[in-house]
Symmetry: none
Subunit: 221 residues, 4 copies
């Protein structure tokens, strides 16, 4: 069982167990993202793994719990990435644009995660609700936004009356839609929202939009 390129050791099996679980999660992520919750096949996931279907039940309990575990890990990866955000040395405008761009890039780089979130929404977020790890977990990005917003509003640069959650929703909307709805949008309007040659265009557009919204001249209001 222990692979040749690593020394045997007392807890080798435990490591194998963790590795097997990780492998199952990898494959399950792809399969759920590919076909949706009901479209995914436990048989197919097992077949693409070095273990057997029985192990999926042994480690995770069932299809539902497996999907929850997939979601938990996917959200964990996002959190880790967000924790590495380092924008607070910038002025508020630059910081918010940078944050938007990082969010934009992250969505583009993780289409499977986007699909999983869409799928979870189709099912009313019941797996998140049932998960101890995911309930009202918030997001590291939110704290960053909060601090940038406070700074910008204090200085009078930001005129908009938004809180961090709303701004996060605004930024996420654009990033999420571009990836999640690219197929229907492309089929209906003939425009590929994730075409590489348009990436900079949309990245800039997002930043412009957020900055314009935050800094708009509201004297007339």
């Amino acid at each position: 069982m222990t692979s040749v390129d690593e020394p045997a050791r007392p807890n080798g099996r435990i490591r194998d167990a963790a590795r097997t679980q990780a492998e199952i999660l990898d494959v399950a992520t792809q399969e759920f993202a590919r076909a949706g919750y009901d479209g995914a096949r436990v048989d197919e996931i097992a077949a693409r793994t070095r273990t057997t279907k029985r192990m999926i039940y042994y480690y995770f309990g069932g299809k539902e719990q497996l999907f929850t575990a997939v979601l938990e890990r996917a959200y964990g990866v996002i959190r880790e990435a967000e924790q590495e955000l380092d924008v607070e040395h910038l002025d508020p405008v630059a910081a918010i644009r940078r944050l938007a761009e990082v969010t934009f890039d992250h969505h583009e780089q993780h289409p499977d995660f986007i699909r999983l979130v869409s799928i979870e929404n189709i099912h009313g977020a019941e797996h998140i609700a049932a998960s101890e790890k995911l309930g009202k977990i918030g997001s590291p990005a939110l704290d960053v936004i909060r601090r940038i917003l406070a700074s910008g509003q204090e200085s009078g640069l930001f005129t908009a009356d938004v809180d961090a959650v709303d701004l996060h929703a605004m930024i996420s909307s654009f990033c999420f839609f571009r990836v999640a709805n690219r197929h229907t949008f492309g089929a209906l309007f003939g425009r590929d929202l994730v075409a590489a040659e348009q990436r900079e265009h949309y990245r800039t557009m997002l930043g412009d939009m957020v900055i314009a919204y935050l800094t708009a001249d509201r004297a007339a209001d």
Copy 2:
């Protein structure tokens, strides 16, 4: 069987056929929106109809074609609503805000449609691609946007360099995300994006965002 507001006639069954098909589409729309494509059950759709499962196959051919028919009708409803847009008597700023609000309202009022579109994206928009009715169908709203944009850009009011499709994507993103992702967003951040008491807040926020983007002072650029 013949309803009271129409005269009885020899081929009354034809009317029944249309009505039965409409009933199947109604139920199928709900079932697909509720459970996704693979989660939906043809048996369940039939059970909630006055006809039998056999008739679904007789009228539509199969589950896949039924889903396509559901999508076609749902998009048709959107088109009809968009064709009634009457904003061109307004000045460009008011017109674009009005358009955004109508889009906003429409998304809120048709959560099933939003879910169907999410589901179709999970499946790579393959049903739209296969549909003769839906391929590159465009959208009446697009023409409206095009005209407003032209007018606003001509008068110098709109400074942004966007075309109609991109602006449509920007508006749709926010409206779509708010409804489609409300479950995960609510579960994660504890905020209900579609709570009635927040509707005006988000409706205004969308309008502000779009207007700010279009009219931002770009002298510094």
Copy 3:
């Protein structure tokens, strides 16, 4: 309904009915021969006809009766062909060889008929048994064989103690097997029994076999 290249007449519709029935029988013959009784599809037969499925039921009553009608017509065609046998001016040996060759050719030329007979045997000949037209119908060829045999036996040329029915079975066996079992025989032994370049070989072989059997020197018996 009446085709343009024939004059309208009082009983034109009756003729059309007969023509429609003949067309249905043509298509049904192909379809039953192609796929077997249970494999044949009433829908498919109707689709390849200028009329509708309903007409099949109108004219024939059902799938079972349609198959019976197909069999009846197919056997009728064979009978007609056999009635044109003209071998009695030949000497017994030449006559029997000629008869064998005609039977051989007929089987080769009517593979669909062979298939129908195989299919009917799979079903225990129940349709023939139920048919008024086909029960113990015999065969014109049988009378011919009977006369040739009598003549050959009388003259001492034919030494074998067979009756016409047995000889008919012997000849038919070879002709029928060659066509009916060509697929399994070919797949198993790599030899195509109906290959054109082997036709003469097998035709001669059949004649030789029958003649040898009938004229064998039985002194030692």
Copy 4:
């Protein structure tokens, strides 16, 4: 569950699996022979078995593969019987007559096999073609025939210019037809080719025919 004539053991279930598969094949053989490929019902096969329909799919994959497995086993039985042929101590004439009789008896004793072969021919031998076990499998009988023929031709006893495959076809034709077409032949001519009291008559007739063909005086040719 464990039968009395074998010791109980840990993996007794494996033996059960083999037994269950054999039972399914037994019942499937009967059902396919009774009703043809399309006429056979997987439900019916399952109902007459101690297991469930699900197991048929578990063990065989589907109806088509089950039919192929039935064919493979049936041909296997034939091969085994043919391998026990022991005729080479006889002189060529006696040997060939013995071989014909064994073939005759075998066909009579296995009417289900005959039906399966007829059914497979209706379907163009596609299952044999798809089977790794059955493609160009040949037949042990063929080797026996080959050796008898060589011996008989060398000694001048056999005058006919046939090879083993053709002679096999000739013998099989008669044996196969007698069983396969007994229903239509009986219904049409009123003679039961497989009636017990006629068996010797036909058995002798077959031998006489083959011997006469092989040893006919061809001086006049």
